[in-house]
Symmetry: C2
Subunit: 139 residues, 2 copies
DNA sequence: GCGCAGGTTGACGCGAACGTAAGCGAGACG
DNA sequence: CGTCTCGCTTACGTTCGCGTCAACCTGCGC
């Protein structure tokens, strides 16, 4: 008698299933929850993660790979949750998102340079390696 | 009588000049030195940074922006310092550099996706904002 | 009932990358 | 001469992102 058709019983996952699916630890998921980045529902004591939680987690992990702090990510996530936010809320979120977007575009451009640079250094090093192996042929 | 023509008296900079030039603190420079990422010469007690030190610092700060650890960066820097390394040393450095390069290329590709994604979310949010300002015209 | 696996809540610990404060030269300046 | 500014070292403090450990609940299989 507790089967409320909330909105849609998204296929729910336990914390362990989440950990296996995303290669994180339970500690990490609870930590993100404490920092208010995800909000799994509770069946009694246990956490249950739905489709939205998974989408959020995916974005969190992505953001981390780009070097964003959890707080920055938290702010960005509001953009992905069209919750009943008012105009100024939306505007604020948009402003933050624009900053992040700028960061990402700068990083994208700089990465391109750095990659080219590193490739050059690599081929130089490979030439040195070839030269070294000629001088001292591997016994 | 202490003017030894070391190799080339690259225009030397004090720690403060470096800090101003690169927007870091003295603490940071000394920390990088302790971690063996830069090796400024000493005039008496004072540190003096030459062109190479500046090039290294530039790479360090770049690497940091991509989220690399100081240790990873330290290893990469060997690639940029054709010091008298032997064959296996060079080979090891090359291997490490290849891994970093892979990281960077993955990140570059993923960034492209994330940027497109974020742009979409942004335009969605902007539409919501427009809609909200129609429903509740700013009094 | 009993143990056990799986989950939960604190609380403390830890490594990375510095910040910060204390105290000590050493040269420049009035 | 005093004192100011730079810089140096030593050492403890801090923030972030979790790891780790203890202690507890809780359904389940026997």
């Amino acid at each position: 008698m507790e089967e409320e058709p909330h909105i849609m019983s998204d296929d729910l996952m336990t914390i362990r299933q989440m950990c296996d699916a995303f290669d994180v630890t339970p500690r990490t998921l609870r930590f993100y929850e404490a920092r208010e980045l995800i909000f799994p529902q509770r069946r009694g004591q246990h956490r249950l993660y739905d489709r939205r939680d998974r989408a959020r987690l995916k974005l969190i992990l992505r953001g981390k790979r780009f070097g964003f702090s959890l707080e920055q990510i938290r702010q960005l996530l509001e953009l992905y949750q069209p919750g009943g936010a008012n105009g100024s809320q939306i505007a604020a979120t948009i402003a933050i998102a624009r900053e992040r977007l700028d960061d990402m575009e700068r990083q994208h451009a700089e990465l391109q340079v750095a990659i080219a640079d590193l490739k050059n250094q690599l081929s130089d090093a490979e030439r040195r390696l070839a030269a070294a192996s000629l001088e001292q042929p591997t016994g």
